[in-house]
Structures are given as structure tokens and as C-alpha cells.
């Protein structure tokens, strides 16, 4: 394609079929299951900024929680889901909920108003839901799908997981673009991290290999839409 070729801004997000269920991969980094009116987001890492202040005395801007919640609010307003699933590591650490500012806490409550809200257990925030509403689950089944935080090594078909914060890099003509992404082989899906301060792990990292023995496609979050990128076009860090 020629340099600077104009792109059609498409609002139609790519669809994906997993275990017979139709998934919409949204530009915000969430998955929309229209048939179940369910929105899934993963790795919110709320209160990561304040966790740094506690642990290492680094005073990162304490606005990451409200920024993450604002993005979530935008998605919720758009889809109006009957159910929201936070796919684990919703808080950066077990004491995160205690440190939340009252305003942010109210924001969570407002988001939960009138809908089912499920906190899936993560490795950072195992069994933490006190005082933050919603209900708690280790895993969740929706239709043919299994929702859990950490991708299982021998997972059943239809697993949706997070935990790894996948990120894809495209390097071309002396420029590199690195973005959060979904990664899938048609059997399972790993979601990008949703949190404002969450980092990313390159999908070419060996960690991903045993999870996708027959290869994968990454769906990178661009500025205007989601792009499907084949494995051969993805660069290592």
C-alpha cells in the first residue's frame, strides 16, 4: 500500500467465532458478546499507581484508576450490557480496594447499577471483592465459553483469558508501532490489559508458544480501529 494511503475509518469492529459464540473485539480492548449482552474486560489493575507509592516510594500520577474507569464507562455507555465481567487482576494488589478514592469507588458503584457484575479471581487480587460490589467467581461459563484469568495449558476450546497483557509490534521502513492486542487461534482468546498503567508482553515471547502450538493471529488496537496482523508480520522486542 502506498505511503500514507488514506484509510477508511470503519466503525464495524471485527467479529470472531469461538466455540460457536460470536465475539466482537472492541477497540477499547474489551470483548462484547451481543447474544449474552455481556462485556468482558481484563487486567484493569486499578490502584497500580498507589501500589507503587506504597512499595517503592515512586509517586506516579494517582489518576490511573479514574482513567481506567472512565474508559470502562465509555464502553458500558455504548453497549449497555446486562453483565460486565472483569477477567481478573482487577486490582493491582489485594489492598487496592482500601486505597481507592471515594470518587472512584462511587464510579464503580454507578457502573454496577442495574447490571450483573462479576469479578473473576486474578493472581494479583485473589478473592478481593469486599466493599467493591458485584459477585466473585474463579471461572465463569457463558454458553460455550469459559472465562478465567490465567490461560490454562490444556484448556478446553472456547477459553477466554487475560493475565499475559499481550502486545504486538510491527516494524516497517524504520518505524515501529507497538500496541496492545487480542491474540487467538480460533480455539482460544487472550485479551489485552485494560488498565491505564498496565504494561504489555510481546506476543513473540516464548510464553505464548505452548498456548498456540499451531500459530495465531493478533488483533492490534490501532488509533481508529482494530487491525488483524499475521504472525509473520509481528516483530520481537
Amino acid at each position: 500500500m502506498a505511503l500514507g494511503a488514506r484509510l477508511e475509518k470503519t466503525t464495524k469492529a471485527p467479529g470472531l467465532t469461538l466455540a460457536g459464540e460470536l465475539l466482537t473485539l472492541d477497540l477499547c480492548g474489551g470483548v462484547w458478546l451481543a447474544a449474552h449482552r455481556t462485556l468482558i474486560v481484563s487486567d484493569l489493575h486499578l490502584e497500580k499507581g498507589s501500589a507503587y507509592a506504597v512499595r517503592s516510594g515512586q509517586f506516579l500520577p494517582p489518576y490511573d484508576t479514574r482513567e481506567t474507569l472512565a474508559c470502562l464507562h465509555e464502553a458500558v455507555a455504548r453497549f449497555d450490557p446486562a453483565c460486565v465481567v472483569a477477567l481478573g487482576d482487577s486490582f493491582h494488589d489485594a489492598r487496592g480496594p482500601e486505597r481507592m478514592e471515594p470518587g472512584d469507588r462511587a464510579m464503580v458503584a454507578a457502573l454496577q447499577e442495574g447490571r450483573d457484575w462479576v469479578w473473576i479471581a486474578g493472581n494479583h487480587d485473589h478473592a478481593v471483592t469486599e466493599g467493591v460490589g458485584g459477585r466473585y467467581a474463579e471461572t465463569l461459563r457463558i454458553g460455550g465459553l469459559t472465562l478465567r484469568h490465567e490461560p490454562g495449558q490444556d484448556a478446553e476450546e472456547g477459553e477466554i483469558a487475560g493475565h499475559l497483557h499481550p502486545c504486538g509490534k510491527v516494524a516497517m521502513r524504520g518505524r515501529a508501532v507497538r500496541r496492545r492486542c487480542f491474540i487467538t487461534d480460533g480455539r482460544r482468546l487472550i485479551m489485552p490489559a485494560f488498565g491505564a498503567y498496565a504494561g504489555g508482553l510481546n506476543v513473540r515471547n516464548p510464553v505464548f508458544e505452548p498456548l498456540f502450538p499451531t500459530g495465531f493471529t493478533a488483533h492490534l488496537l490501532g488509533d481508529g480501529r482494530v487491525f488483524a496482523i499475521g504472525r509473520t508480520m509481528l516483530a520481537k522486542d
Partner: protein, 839 residues
């Protein structure tokens, strides 16, 4: 102030040596008498050696020691307990010393501080840090004499203010440094054939100072001793008689002539502007090195031990030539250099004079140097530089406004030294020239930042790094915070680098490599390594390498086969923009045909062609040309304001053209101009709308458009990262420190995005904006240019490209082209997937 080679370093020590030799024999403890600060660790070590020799010869009981990052800890401890008479160190080590619990005792008896290469120090954040340390020293030891040693600069008064406490409106005038034992005037300007003059400080005789409204700069200045230059330099432009290209920076035509010069001199320093040029020049010289002269390479990306080896061989007179970048602009006096060759554009008059001064360190003999232009434009620039040198004109930068991030670092350091009273610390800080205009409110904001991050949302009160006690004094919270400060001191933020290791091919298996085993060639910026894909070839450490991949923290590479051309054009290295002063001279040269005969004939031919095919702009005009070419429409403009300002201009113009629906596709920039290409006919648009061009270049470009672009600019993010590291928001990554997977490290880009959205007036964002004005984005210079050209835009609609435009058009494809969004790149990668699926 003296030209290079006048022997000012030793002169700076004379008062101290005299005072120390004359003092009565030591009875008990004698404290630190003199402190010497050098920008380079190696220079401090070298000066110590040079001082020890005369001290030993004269049998003086004077102890001289160095303190650098390499000084072992037992020696550091001893230096505090039993300080030497003279201590030689760097600005970073001084910052650590004044933050030490024992600082007040250590410096109480300090008589003299010597700041070497002051002209180079004051232009950066290191100079800000040093000015704050100096303010502290003046307070700990009233009556301290500060001596600055500097090459000739444009505004010596800036340096004179830097050395002495500035008197502010809120405080009674501080006592001015008295001329006690160690009066700088007693030992200088005498005993040689050189003429010198002493300019006393106006404050010395005037006593009290005139004040202006607000926080005006009071005129407290150090005395000035000027050593006038010796013999004028023997400086020429190298004219090989060959026709030079219109663009390009390699100067390949000149290599045989340069090689010939090397053969006729003892030792030649070959200066270039970028690491890429250094690599190329080194390789070309060796290709024609039939005599096998020892020619070495020296630049900032090479392995440090490799660089030390080159320096040692040079000092020992074992080398005939060194190809080097700005890494050798300062430093050790190379005894035997008898010729300096500067390849490419000189960029600035003062810079070129300092480089020339590296040749021949005897002042009564002329320094010999050649300027080597690499293209026809650089011939103009070389001529402008020759004229400037002849007129002894200087274009060193203006005095800096102290950076807030550096101040934050200093405030934490001062809390580590001792509890501080905010009013007292404020008075001390505004006595440092770069911070003389700092308001109390801004100071309070810095203290608040240091304590809890300076956020409107008071989330970190419980974790405060410094705490105000009931007595009103601020103290550091605990030893861990003090340790954190010590680990993060300094203002030099190296971009993350990866080592380049030579990987070995597996015998009999082409394409397969052994991951380890080869030697390390040096380092490349992580940002550059990020853009490489396996198979890419690039020039490094004097050879063409093939990138094989990244393994852990190293870039593995193999030697490319003979005759391979490097495919990746360049990697980041120092690129100085053309100085405003030289730019004005170049514009004047172009505008005045009567001066053309001083330059090689091909320049006059070229300019005459431009005059007949288009037009020659006047000295203050902005020439804009528009023309169609190969299905696209081009707009070229020639502000001559340097690459950085042009890149910013290109970004902003592209945004405006986008909005005007001209469909810009991208642009390229060099030191002289920019070329923007688009799909709509820009010439036609200008013809239909007479005001279009004037509004395109209107000054309000620096308003909303700039703001919007800054918010997402990668360079702004890089600038922010540097401020965040200096101010201690995020911790430094040390070389060799294991990279802890990107999953857990926090990216400053994410921090930047969140902060600018939720607290756009935060201290660190203000610091980053202040840097952007003069740093990577050169916004300030762009502003001056836009003001200059209002009503002076000279538009020429052409049917084909003009001689001037060719030069910048040739940058397209040679350098990075801007304007390509992330989504365009991703779309192209996506298209490949579709092809695979369909194919």
C-alpha cells in the same frame, strides 16, 4: 576567558597553589581548600596528574585527589574524614557531596572553586545542577572565590553572573566574594607574551545595586580576565575541484584529499557531525589506506574500553588520525595534533572555533584546519563559518532558565544533607543565576512535588518523601529515600541501550548463528534496535553488520558479506542544528551575488541557476516554491532554521494542510528547508486564494495546533521521560541492570498520557514544555522565524523543481519521512495477512 590552548586550566590553580604553599606548616586538620569541577571524569583525572608533577618538583606539601564514580568507597569515606587540599571532581559528584550529612563541615573552610570548561557546562541541565551546588557552597563558605574557565563566548556576562550569588529583591545583598587568599587576579594575565585584560565587576565598585521592578536580575558579576587569542587560525575550505552533489553528508569525493592531508601531518583529528558519518568516513579512509596509517575511530556508541584505548594511543602519539564526533570536542589536550579536518556543515561559529582549537596547543602558532563541505549547500555554510571565524564572531547559546526538574532533584538532596528552612533555601536557590527569577510560588510547587508528587489529588500524603516538622523545617523521611536520591543523582539521562554483539555463524549452516560467543562492539539506542528486523544491514563500529535478532538484552549481528550496502540509513547520534547566527549569514550570502566569487565556482553557478529558474530570496524573506512532480504536488520552503525547528514546522504545516483538505502525504526536512508532498494541487489553491499562504504560515500555528501536536508527539514523550527521571518520578535504569520484562515496568508514555489528561499544569509537564521550547522541538526558534517572515513570504509557482528545492527533495528516501500514522503502518501489515489468506 581565553581561547583554547592558552593554558587557562593551570592558571586557574595558581592562586590556590600559592596560598597553599605559603600557609604555615600543618598542625592539626586542614580542610578542603580548593575544589575543581570538570565536565569530564577523564579530564579531572588528567588534570590531577598534571598538577601532581609540578607540586612534586617544587616539593610542596599539597595533597591532590580525584573523586569520580570510579573512586572506591573506602577512599570516599576517607576523603570526607580527612579531605585533601585540592579535590578534583564532576558536577554529579559535587551534588552527592553537598547532600552528604557532613557537607557543612567539609566545605566550611573551602576557599576556592574552579569550574573548568564552563562554557560547555552552562548550556545544559548539568549547568543548572552545578549552579545550585555552587549556591550551596557560597552559603557554607561565605567569601568563597569561584573561578570559571571558559573558551571565548558571545555573552561573557552570563558566565560572570553564574559564578557569584545573585542578589534578589527579597533579601539584603549577600556579601560579595572578597579578594582574599586566592584572588584570581594575582596570577593571571602575566608572564607571557599574551595580552590580557581585567574587567572588574561593576558590583565590586558600586556596592549597592540598582533594582528594577519585580524580581529583576541584579547585576552581581564575577571579575573578568580576558586572554586575547594568539595567532589567528590558518583555516581553509577544502576545494577538491570536483562537483559536489546537492544533498548528502558523506563527502565521499573528499576522501582521497583528506587521506593525502593525513599523510602530510603528524596527527590529524577528523571531526564529523554524526556517528553515521564517523562510521562511513572511517571505513572509506581505511579502504584507501595503502600506507596502513594507524587511523582510529571514536564516538559515543563505541564500547568505553575501546574509546579509552584510542585516547591512550592518541596521547602516546601512536595514531596518525582519529575520526571522531563531538565526544572529542572537550577534554584532554592532545599534545601533537597539527591539523583539524571538519567534515560536513560547521553548524555554528563557536563550535567550529573550539574544534579548530584542538589542533596545536601553542598559542603563538596558528591552529591549522580545513572545512570539508559534503554538498553544495554546505559550501555556503562553510563560507559563512570562514567569515565568522575571521570576524571572531561568536554564537554560543543564551543563558538558560533553570529547569524545574533539576531543582526538584536538588531540593531532595538538600533535605538529605540536613533539615531545611524553606525561606532560607529559597533565598539560596534564587542566588543561583539560572534560578534568579524563580517565584516563591514555583518554589513551593517544587517542594510539594518532592514531598508528595505535587498532585491535585492528595493521594500520597501518608508516603511523603520529605516531611515538615513542628519547627517548620523539612526533613527527609528515612534512609531509604536518601539512598534513592543517591542512586538517581545527575541530569544525564541516557536513552536505553542494547549491546551489539558479534554472533558467530554455525559452520556449514548458512543463516544459523550461535547466540553467544562473539565480542561486544558497542551499544545502540533501544529505539533504533526496535525498528530493526532480522536481515537488515547497518553500519556500525566501522563495518557493515547484518542484524540477526535480539537475545535477552543484546542485539546479535554478523558481518555482512563484502560489498554489502547498509540498508538502514542511520541510527540516532548527535545532530546539532544550524545556529541562528550562521543561518543568517547563509541567507545573506545567497542574497548578495557580489560575495559569490569567494566560493568555489560551482556554488555561484548553482545560485545563478536558481535565480534564473525561480528566484533568490532576500536576507529576511521566506522563499516558498510549489510545483507538481510525478502525480504529486509539492510545497518547499526555506527558513534556514535548522533541522529540529523544521521538523516541528513540518508537523504543524501538515496538520494545517490536512485541515485545508490538501491531503498531505508526508514531509522531509533538512537544516535549510522542508518539502511537503500532497495529492491536491497546492499551487492552484494559492492562486485562487491569495491569503492562503500567509494564513498557512501565520503565527497562530504555535497556538492550538502546537498544543494538539505536542500532546501526542513522540519527542515530547521522550522529553517528558527525561524530566521524570531527573526529578525522581521514575527510577533510572542502569546499564547491565536486568530488564524485568515490560509487563511489570511502567512505561513513561502511559504515565504521560494519564497525567496530561488529568493534570495538564503539573510541574513535570511544565518542565517538559520548557525543554521542548529549546530542545528536540526548538519551538522557540520556530516562533522567532514565524515573526520574522510575516509579510515577507515570497511565493514562486513553478512547473518543475528548482535547484534549491532539489536539495531538500533529495532528503525524501534518504532520511525518515514524517507524517505516516500508526494506523497506516498497521493497515499495511494487515494487508499482508489478507494477501497470505487469499494467496
Amino acid at each position: 576567558m581565553a581561547p583554547t590552548g592558552a593554558g587557562k586550566t593551570l592558571a586557574g590553580f595558581l592562586p590556590s597553589l600559592t596560598a597553599l604553599a605559603e600557609r604555615p606548616p600543618a598542625r592539626t586538620s586542614r580542610g578542603l581548600h580548593t575544589l575543581y569541577i570538570s565536565p569530564l571524569k577523564a579530564l579531572a583525572v588528567d588534570i590531577a596528574r598534571n598538577l601532581e608533577a609540578p607540586i612534586a618538583e617544587m616539593g610542596l606539601a599539597i595533597r591532590v585527589e580525584t573523586r569520580t564514580g570510579d573512586t572506591p568507597s573506602h577512599k570516599r569515606t576517607r576523603q570526607i574524614a580527612r579531605p585533601p587540599d585540592i579535590l578534583l571532581t564532576t558536577p554529579e559528584q559535587l551534588a552527592l557531596l553537598i547532600a552528604h550529612r557532613e557537607a557543612a563541615d567539609l566545605f566550611a573552610g573551602l576557599r576556592c572553586v574552579v569550574l573548568d570548561e564552563l562554557h560547555a557546562l552552562v548550556t545544559s541541565k548539568r549547568g543548572d545542577l552545578l549552579s545550585l551546588a555552587l549556591a550551596r557552597l557560597h552559603r557554607l563558605s561565605p567569601g568563597l572565590v569561584a573561578i570559571g574557565l571558559s573558551a571565548t563566548v558571545r555573552e561573557p556576562d552570563d558566565l560572570r553572573r553564574y559564578l557569584v550569588p545573585q542578589i534578589t529583591d527579597d533579601e539584603p545583598p549577600a556579601p560579595l566574594p572578597s579578594a582574599g587568599e586566592g584572588d584570581p587576579r594575582s596570577g593571571s594575565g602575566e608572564g607571557s607574551a599574551l595580552s590580557g585584560e581585567v574587567v572588574p565587576s561593576p558590583a565590586c565598585s558600586a556596592g549597592t545595586l540598582p533594582r528594577e521592578g519585580g524580581r529583576g536580575l541584579a547585576d552581581a558579576m564575577a571579575d573578568l580576565v580576558v586572554v586575547h587569542g594568539g595567532a589567528p587560525p590558518d583555516l581553509h575550505m577544502l576545494d577538491t575541484g570536483l562537483r559536489l552533489p546537492l544533498a548528502g553528508h558523506t563527502a565521499w569525493q573528499a576522501m582521497p584529499a583528506i587521506y593525502d592531508l593525513i599523510g602530510r601531518h603528524r596527527t590529524v583529528l577528523v571531526f564529523v557531525n554524526t556517528r553515521l558519518q564517523a562510521e562511513y568516513t572511517f571505513q572509506e579512509l581505511w579502504r584507501i589506506n595503502e600506507e596502513s596509517y594507524p587511523i582510529a575511530l571514536h564516538h559515543g556508541s563505541l564500547d568505553a574500553t575501546q574509546r579509552r584505548r584510542v585516547e591512550a594511543a592518541m596521547a602516546a602519539g601512536q595514531l596518525r588520525a582519529i575520526v571522531c564526533t563531538a565526544t572529542l570536542d572537550l577534554g584532554i589536550d592532545w599534545g601533537d595534533v597539527d591539523l583539524v579536518v571538519n567534515i560536513g556543515a560547521p553548524k555554528g561559529a563557536s563550535r567550529i572555533m573550539q574544534r579548530i582549537g584542538r589542533a596545536n596547543h601553542r598559542m603563538d602558532e596558528p591552529s591549522k584546519a580545513y572545512l570539508v563541505p559534503a554538498n553544495r549547500f554546505e559550501m555556503l555554510e562553510c563560507q559563512a563559518a570562514l567569515d565568522a571565524v575571521e570576524a571572531a564572531a561568536q554564537d554560543t547559546p543564551d543563558a538558560r532558565l533553570g529547569a524545574p526538574d533539576v531543582l526538584a532533584q536538588h531540593v531532595l538532596g538538600m533535605a538529605c544533607a540536613d533539615a531545611f528552612d524553606p525561606l532560607q533555601l529559597y533565598a539560596e536557590i534564587v542566588s543561583a543565576a539560572p534560578y534568579a527569577t524563580l517565584s516563591w510560588e514555583d518554589f513551593e510547587a517544587v517542594v510539594d512535588y518532592v514531598a508528595t508528587g505535587g498532585y491535585a489529588l492528595r493521594a500520597y500524603e501518608r508516603f511523603a518523601k520529605i516531611v515538615r516538622g513542628a519547627d517548620g523545617l523539612w526533613r527527609v523521611r528515612d534512609a531509604r529515600i536518601a539512598q534513592q536520591y543517591r542512586m538517581n543523582v545527575g541530569t544525564i539521562v541516557e536513552s536505553a541501550k542494547v549491546k551489539v554483539r558479534l554472533a558467530r555463524n554455525v559452520r556449514g549452516k548458512p543463516g544459523a548463528i550461535l547466540p553467544k560467543g562473539g565480542r561486544v562492539l558497542g551499544e545502540i539506542e533501544e529505539d533504533f534496535a526496535d525498528t530493526l528486523t532480522p536481515g537488515d544491514t547497518f553500519l556500525f563500529a566501522g563495518e557493515v553488520l547484518r542484524f540477526e535478532g535480539l537475545a535477552e538484552d543484546e542485539a546479535l549481528a554478523t558481518r555482512a558479506g563484502p560489498g554489502t550496502d547498509p540498508a538502514i540509513p542511520s541510527y540516532a547520534g548527535a545532530k546539532f542544528p544550524l545556529s541562528t547566527f550562521l543561518a543568517a549569514r547563509v541567507r545573506a550570502l545567497i542574497a548578495d551575488p557580489s560575495g559569490w566569487d569567494r566560493m568555489p565556482g560551482q556554488v555561484a553557478d548553482y545560485l545563478a541557476q536558481q535565480a534564473s529558474r525561480s528566484v533568490l530570496p532576500g536576507p529576511t524573506d521566506l522563499l516558498v516554491e510549489t510545483f507538481p512532480r510525478a502525480g504529486r504536488y509539492y510545497l518547499t520552503a526555506f527558513p534556514f532554521e535548522g533541522r529540529l525547528a523544521h521538523q516541528t514546522l513540518g508537523m504543524l504545516l501538515t496538520r494545517r494542510l490536512e485541515r485545508a483538505r490538501m491531503r498531505p502525504l508526508g514531509f522531509a526536512a533538512n537544516d535549510y528547508g522542508i518539502a511537503i508532498f500532497m495529492t491536491r494541487d497546492i499551487g492552484e489553491r494559492i492562486a485562487l486564494e491569495p491569503d492562503f499562504l500567509a494564513s498557512l504560515f501565520a503565527e497562530d500555528m504555535l497556538g492550538d495546533d502546537l498544543e494538539a501536536w505536542l500532546d501526542e508527539s513522540a519527542m515530547m514523550k521522550r522529553t517528558f521521560r527525561q524530566c521524570a527521571v531527573i526529578a525522581g518520578l521514575i527510577e533510572r535504569r542502569y546499564p547491565g541492570q536486568a530488564k524485568t520484562g515490560r509487563q511489570v515496568t511502567i512505561s513513561t508514555d502511559l504515565v504521560y498520557d494519564v497525567l496530561k489528561k488529568h493534570q495538564p499544569d503539573h510541574l513535570l509537564l511544565r518542565a517538559a514544555r520548557q525543554d521542548a521550547a529549546t530542545g528536540l522541538l526548538d519551538v522557540k526558534r520556530l516562533g522567532v522565524m514565524l515573526r520574522r517572515i510575516q509579510g515577507r513570504i515570497l511565493h514562486k509557482a513553478l512547473t518543475r523543481v528548482s535547484p534549491l528545492s532539489v536539495s531538500v527533495m533529495l532528503e525524501i528516501g534518504r532520511e525518515k519521512v514524517y507524517g505516516e500514522g500508526a494506523d497506516e503502518i498497521l493497515a499495511e501489515a494487515e494487508a499482508q495477512l489478507l494477501e497470505e489468506a487469499l494467496g
